[in-house]
Amino acid sequence: MNRRSKLYPDFPSAIHGIEDGATIGFGGFAMPGVPFNLMQALQHSPARNLTCVANTTGGAALPRMPDIGHLVERGMVRKVICAFTAATRASEQLPFTKYHESGEVEAELVPQGTLAERLRAAGAGIPAFYTPTAVGTELALGRETRIFDGREYLLEPALPLDYAFIRAHRADAAGNLRFRRSQRNFNPIMAMAARIVIAEIENDIEPAGSFDPDDIHLAGIFVHRLVVIPPAPAGLWPQLREPKS
C-alpha cells in the first residue's frame, strides 16, 4: 500500500482546510447519523460564508445538539438549503428563523425527497431531473415545468457539495462504511455528492477486509477522512429527546 492513511487523530484536524464559501452537507435525520462532533469542531474553525445543506437547520427539539443554527449564530453561514427552514408549529420558533427573517442568512426550502434526489443526482453525474413533487405549489412559482405522459413535473438541478460531514457506525481502513439502522438516512448520498467526505465513526477503525464486500453501505472510494468518536463526554452521542409538550 502506497496509500495514505485516511485516519485523522481528532475532529479539528479532520476538518482542516475548509475554504470560505464552501458548500457543506451534513448527514443525519433527527438524532441518528448526525455528525455532531464534526459540526462542533466546525463551529471553532475560521470558515465563513458557508452554504449548509441538511434536512433541517436544527434547534427545534431538546436536548439541542450541534446544528446549523449554531453556525448561523456564529455568523459563519451565507445560505442554508433544507427541508425545514422554519418550525412546523406556529407556536414554535427555530433558532434560525430570526436570522432568516432579518435577511442575514439566505434559505432555500426544498422538499425532503427532492433534497435527497438532488444530492443523489450530483453523486451520479446527473445535472438535472424532473420530479412531480411541489408542482402547483408556491415552491414551483416561476420555475420550469414540463408535461410527461399527461402529468406535470418540475425541473430540479443537482446539488453538488464541496464537503460532506457524515457519521457511521463502523469503518475499515479503506474507508468502507457501515451505518446502523436509521443512521443511514442522508449519509451515503451526502457522501456521493461531495468532493471531500469526512466521517466520524462510532467504533475503532477495523482493518481493510473486515467487512464482507456485499455488506458495505458506502464504498471507501467515496470517503477521504475518518475520525473515531471518543466515549462521552469527550465525544458527542445521540441523546433521548424530551417529549414534545
Binding site: F29, E117, L139
Partner: protein
Amino acid sequence: MSGLTRQQMADAIARRFQDDWIVNLGVGIPTMCSNTPITADIIYHSENGVIGYGPLTAPGEEDMHLVNAGGQHVTLKPEAAVVHHADSFAIIRSGRIDVTVMGAYEVAATGDFANWKVAGAKGGGIGGAMDLAACAKRVFIILEHTQRNGAPRLLSHCALPITARGVVKLVATNYGLFEPAGTAFNLVAIAPGITVEQIRAATGAPVHIPDNLSTIAV
C-alpha cells in the same frame, strides 16, 4: 373540543387500511394510527428509510440508532429493511405508498391541503410532505375541524400555501369523516354526539349529507 378524541380520529382513519398496504404516518395525530387495533396486515414506511417498523419502543429500551420520521424510537418487525434517503423517496415517488396520513392546517373541497407554512412566515417546514402528497396512491388528512377561535379548517379553497393540489381522498376531524368532492365535502360518517347543523356551521364549504348517514364507531 367536542366529538372524537385525537385517538378516535386516528382510529377512524386506521380502520380504512387494507391488507398489504404500505402506510406512511405523518408527525402528530397520524402517528396514533399505529395504536389502533386493526386486522389488516400493513407495512409502515418512514421517510428516513425504515421499512416495516412496529410499535413505539418501551421506555428504557430505545435503540439510539433507530427512529421513525417523527424522531420517535420504534421497534422493527421481522420483515424490516433499511434503505438510504434517496431509495426511501424512490419508494414514495414511484407510487408505492398506498396511503399517507398527514396533519394539516387546512383542507379544501378541491382536494388541496396546506400543512407546511403558516401565514406570514418566512420559510417553512416541508419535510417529506410534498413528496408524499404528490405521489402516494391516497392522501388521508387528520385535523381538528376548526381552529381554536372556531374558524373552519375545511374550506372551499385553501388560504395558506398548499402542499399539493387535488390529492386528498379522505379527511378525519373530530366531527366526522369527509371526502373532498370538488365544490363541497361529502360527509362519509358523523362523530357520535355531533349534529349535521354543527358541521355545516363549522365548515367553510358546502357539505353533502348522504341519505343514510352512518355514525363512526368509537
